[in-house]
Symmetry: C2
Subunit: 589 residues, 2 copies
């Protein structure tokens, strides 16, 4: 037996006991005739004491231990002279009689402390060392607690966790698939699932009624900030349900998690349809921790001779409470900010409402005090507020204004990560016109594209529009948005073979391709399919939210970098000629 | 809301209530002026009753429903005239007022009954229908209960479930990897993990102390009976442990599962070293539900003029209690059985001990009664027993005798699948000489090969043999065998960089290849690595064992067939020229 206790276990009850501890040398301190070592493991830190007077060679050996070395020490638990109230074990220390150096450590490439001096790339390369740091370790532990809580809650609700296959078939919808060449079937490939979508639907056709799975999914995308080629979903599906049933069920899951993990009791979540979210927030995943709603100012500011506004498709504003004190310099900087390519606005107009209720705007030439008074009344703006106005083409400017709203929320301190505001966004459009998403292969562009996925059910009253006006068809689809982050999304699915076929037609699939790719699903619908729907949560994002992490990389034990590489094991890598040969493959260039 | 109750929920307490039920039409019966429908869902069956006198058109519509159609029915819960004690809901029925045909089913390709008429291929193709059958559905439910029980038990023991990556690096050890071409890094590949081995070891280096994960693993093998290209492991690792600690911990897990899932309290498991298992059972995974030990008869049967025995390397026997009554015809058939290529013996000799304690053998020419008496005494054989003898080259004949033992166990009814005998086999050889396993690429043959894997620690007293006599080195490795099936296996790992390097040398890795493939692990060992070890259980096999299934396919929702194909979705399949292009790949032939 290597140890009798962990480094977080000993307290005054153990005084007088002889124990064995194992762990990592966090710190070595010499103090007069004593050497003290902080011995660390996952459970805590215990102080080891060596007395030169008692055993000078042992004391010397201890003093020579390098940081991060692994040792096993035996000794007597004694009371500390001065208690350390910061540590659970702070009342005792181990008077060491003997220790074994199990594994000597060379100097780590960065310090293993809560605040480290290591750069991100270096820490990715030595991820196993970075994971020793408390902040990261605690996030991985939190992730474990979240998944246990999810599973037990779902189990109590009667959901079955069922594993679906990882080696499936490549399908021409959504993002790019990762593919896996088959050695046994030359020239053929498996694909890795972007989600278990069709399988969970088949489980509903099988009658499993309530399914969930915490499951790895894969997407071969050009990685944007905070995406990973492999990510984890809490994937769920239910039969004989309406949108309301799903929302109620999974709102209870999320409330349970907040209560269990963070001891936060959440109010019932707000619900808002897509159209309203876009008009009030310019965004289908609004951050609801603060208001700062978007107001359409065309009726107030057009036709007054300011040609930029007069010729713009979209002229809208937000009111930032208490920001009238922004200096000219700050406002100029904000103007530069909105014009950055990532934001994409053409320029910023503003109006300050001063303490004396007078107005000072950047476009005073065109508008008088009464114009601004009307605007202020409409926007419920008050003395001390700042009105920020963007104008331009609708889609682009709406997006920019939404970004500006978030930026102002941050600057005004309205986005604390210990506040949580949960929102269901509903009634998404079923389809969107895909002009040129670079994440899609060429052949998928320039046609109607499923906003959620091709199995999403249109609202029954909108089905006739599928043929006449596809862009206006609303879906039985919903997202869960927390603090402006899309944490989950789902839909009621099509369960009728004919409607599914029509959907594929609308999406530009030939009958042959639809049959070849999704024939199994459409056939399944002819043998008795229940109405069904579901949702999938991004576990990585949920864990990042719960742990207050900036990046999902912090809650993944071994993440990949922004170009999809694992810097620690150096993957991807070349494979042998023999392997390629067996797969009947050749690298072209 | 589609339903107020499930089809397993109603009983006499609900009599008089108006309810809504949804489900599948299991059966339609006409009886006088009545129509009865068995409505089925995952939770049970409820009888729907339609009375022609009350509503003849409704009754007619009900009588025309096809099997497996999905309906939603509303009506009054009434007491049945005759209770059906076979059903939980057998005391009531639903007097239907109205129903909606949600999805009409065409005739399924096989009957959805406990005993179906469908062949295996057909049922694989329509897996979503096969999964509706009770026996299969119950196995998938059992699998869910097992994984929940595993997770909660491990959580209580302080293990953290940590996800390891699926897109990793191809390594030239073990079976073949499935690989995944990288689009972003042309000519490079990820590999799918055969196990999370190196990652879980790195988690120990990180200090996570106790890790587990229920995780998909992948092996590109020529599939033997009952293997799947993707399979699920309960993967575990612990720090600061000896072999004994691991065995104790995971014996408690398996006992917990048997108790929780099957209400069986198991005795402490037997432990036996590899050498003893091979000598007593001819097998490193003996079925311990019955004895029938192998006895070496060379001292008794050689040198008596029977040249086949005299010239054989191995002459051994088993004693089958109470089988002396086997007829000549049965024994001839058994002789044919052992000579089949799968068994590979050269022929069977036998000796029956008759009721009068006389002997009747197939080699009476060479042995007299006193010879057999000596054999019988040695083997503790009694009147009524049958001694079966095989002779030939050791390895091959030992294997054949082991197979014969299992076959006789089966024939004598000694292998009930409601009896469970658990065994730890320990002290496996560290290495085995790999002459030509067809599951390995050419380049891996004709050299020493790790029996478990290259990270397994040799017994410290055997380390000197690594250079002189590698085949004699024993490993700190152990398997858990239940009823002759290897359910789990593991080892104490190497945690010292120098020893790991030496191990790679013994396995014939050049220093460059070792560094390129496993440099990250050896480097990790220089920054403070704890002693560690672990185990992995085959979840599929465990579930098959618990559910009494012949094949692991029965406990996998969507399995692949013996050539690695998913017959339902038709994978693997060809991919588009555009996809190949983007991956910079070409199919050679």
């Amino acid at each position: 037996m290597y140890r009798t206790h962990t480094c977080g276990a000993l307290n005054t009850e153990h005084i007088g006991n002889t124990v064995k501890l194992c762990g990592w040398v966090q710190r070595v301190r010499r103090l007069g005739g004593m050497v003290f070592i902080d011995l660390r493991d996952r459970y805590g830190i215990t102080q080891l004491a060596f007395n030169e007077a008692l055993n000078s060679s042992l004391c010397k050996a201890a003093s020579e231990l390098t940081r991060e070395s692994v040792i096993c020490a035996e000794g007597l638990v004694i009371e500390r002279e001065r208690h350390n109230t910061q540590l659970v074990t702070g009342q005792i220390e181990l008077q060491v009689r003997a220790f074994e150096l199990i594994n000597a450590a060379q100097t780590p490439p960065f310090t293993i402390e809560d605040d480290t001096d290591g750069g991100e790339e270096l820490r990715m390369q030595y991820r196993y060392l970075d994971l020793r740091r408390n902040p990261l370790r605690q996030k991985i532990e939190l992730r474990h607690r979240i998944t246990i809580a999810v599973r037990n809650f779902m189990n109590q609700l009667g959901f079955l966790e069922i594993e679906t296959p990882v080696l499936i078939k490549s399908t021409p919808e959504g993002a790019r698939d990762f593919v896996v060449p088959s050695r046994m079937h030359s020239g053929q490939f498996y694909a890795l699932p972007q989600s278990p979508q069709t399988f969970k639907q088949l489980l509903m056709v099988s009658g499993f009624d309530k399914y969930f799975q915490i499951v790895k999914c894969f997407r071969d995308e050009d990685l944007r900030a905070d995406r990973q080629p492999e990510f984890t979903q809490i994937d769920c599906e239910m039969s004989f349900v309406t949108q309301d049933d799903i929302i109620t069920t999974f709102e209870s899951l999320v409330q349970h998690l907040f209560f269990t993990i963070k001891q936060i009791q959440l109010e019932p979540f707000i619900r808002m349809d897509y159209a309203k979210a876009m008009s009030l927030y310019g965004n289908d995943k609004p951050d609801m921790r603060f208001d700062m709603l978007i107001h359409d100012l065309k009726p107030y500011l057009c036709g007054k001779g300011f040609s930029i506004f007069d010729t713009s498709e979209y002229v809208s504003a937000i009111c930032v409470s208490g920001a009238a004190a922004f200096t000219r310099k700050q406002l100029d900087e904000l103007n530069d900010w909105v014009k950055r390519p990532q934001i994409g606005a053409q320029g910023l107009a503003y109006c300050r409402i001063l303490e004396d209720a007078s107005f000072k705007s950047s476009v005073d030439k065109f508008y008088n005090s009464s114009d601004w008074q009307n605007v202020a009344t409409f926007m419920k703006a008050q003395a001390g507020d700042l009105i920020l106005i963007l104008a331009g083409p609708k889609e682009q400017t709406q997006k920019a204004l939404s970004e500006l709203r978030l930026e102002m929320g941050t600057r005004m301190g309205l986005r604390s990560n210990s506040t949580f505001s949960c929102l269901w966004v509903t009634d998404f459009p079923l389809l969107e016109w895909n002009s040129g998403d670079p994440n899609l292969p060429e052949s998928y562009r320039g046609r109607w594209h499923a906003k959620h996925h091709p199995f999403t059910s249109p609202k029954s009253e909108d089905i006739p529009l599928l043929k006449t006006n596809p862009g206006d068809v609303r879906a039985n689809a919903y997202d869960l948005v927390i603090n402006g982050v899309e944490i989950g999304g789902g839909s009621i699915r099509i369960h009728d073979a004919a409607l599914q076929k029509q959907m594929f037609e609308t999406l530009g699939f030939s009958a042959e391709v639809a049959e070849q790719q999704f024939g199994f699903l459409m056939h399944a619908f002819t043998y008795g399919a229940p109405p069904h729907g579901g949702i999938a949560f991004g576990l990585d994002r949920l864990c990042a939210l719960f742990s207050g992490s900036e990046s999902i990389r912090d809650v993944i034990a071994f993440p990949k970098n922004n170009s999809g590489r694992d810097l620690m094991i150096e993957a991807p890598s070349i494979i042998s000629a023999e392997q390629l040969n067996e797969l009947d493959l050749k690298i072209k260039s």
